[in-house]
């Protein structure tokens, strides 16, 4: 990461279908990615549900924005971090519907998060 440019961290803290928070966070990440701005995604608490495999929003008539996560690489969004204790609390495995996800313990998650200049939480 270029030290002279500012970096953005986005924390996802909500489950995918009950609110538009996850979609809003995704939109911002993709806009930043389009303009070649450094952006990292963090998943904490209920936000970890967004990464679980085999979800299908169409069953409940919800727009399935999660499929767009597969485009992260195309937008140069390569830094995706998940809170390990949030996964454990929910008995979720460390396998996700996208590749290159980094599972971090509490300490590393905090350290990585606060290495960014600006932090938005959804």
């Amino acid at each position: 990461m270029n030290n002279t440019s500012k970096s953005l961290a986005i924390i996802n803290a909500k489950a995918p279908y009950s609110s538009t928070a996850g979609k809003d966070a995704l939109d911002i990440a993709l806009i930043f990615g389009s303009f070649e701005q450094a952006v990292s995604l963090f998943f904490q608490g209920e936000g970890v549900w967004q990464l679980i495999k085999e979800q299908d929003g169409s069953i409940i008539s919800a727009k399935d924005y999660l499929k767009t996560f597969a485009a992260f690489e195309f937008y140069d969004i390569e830094q995706v971090y998940v809170c390990q204790s949030s996964l454990k609390e929910r008995n979720l495995p460390e396998s996700f519907h996208i590749d290159n996800v980094n599972v971090l313990n509490q300490q590393d998650f905090a350290k990585k998060l606060t290495s960014h200049h600006s932090i938005l939480r959804f």
Binding site: I11, A13, Q44, G45, E46, C83, S85, Q106, F109, A110, L113, T114, H116, H117, S118, I119, R121
Partner: protein, 97 residues
């Protein structure tokens, strides 16, 4: 490098404060505003790690509107202007809402 954590929700209702506490760094500041003032009544604030030298603050108006007493040994009373100053004094801000 310090972070200002603006907490706007009650821990009786959401996990926001617990998540905030997971990422606290040394000398960080927490500002309780809006329903975040209810956290002053929650046991969770007793488990904030003392060795990290975390400073607790709360908007006095928001707390008194909710009849929440601020124990000034634990938490300092601030105004909206102080909150603005805190955003400048710290390197970054996370709003937990």
């Amino acid at each position: 490098m310090t972070t200002l954590h603006i907490v706007r929700q009650s821990a009786f209702n959401t996990n926001d404060l617990a998540q905030c506490m997971q990422v606290l760094g040394n000398n960080d500041v927490i500002a309780f505003i809006d329903d975040g003032c209810y956290n002053l009544q929650h046991n969770l604030i007793n488990s904030i790690e003392r060795d990290k030298n975390i400073r607790l603050t709360a908007i006095e108006q928001h707390a008194s509107a909710r009849a929440i007493a601020i124990n000034e040994e634990v938490c300092s009373k601030i105004t909206m202007n102080d909150l603005v100053s805190l955003t400048f004094e710290n390197d970054r801000v996370i709003t937990w809402q």
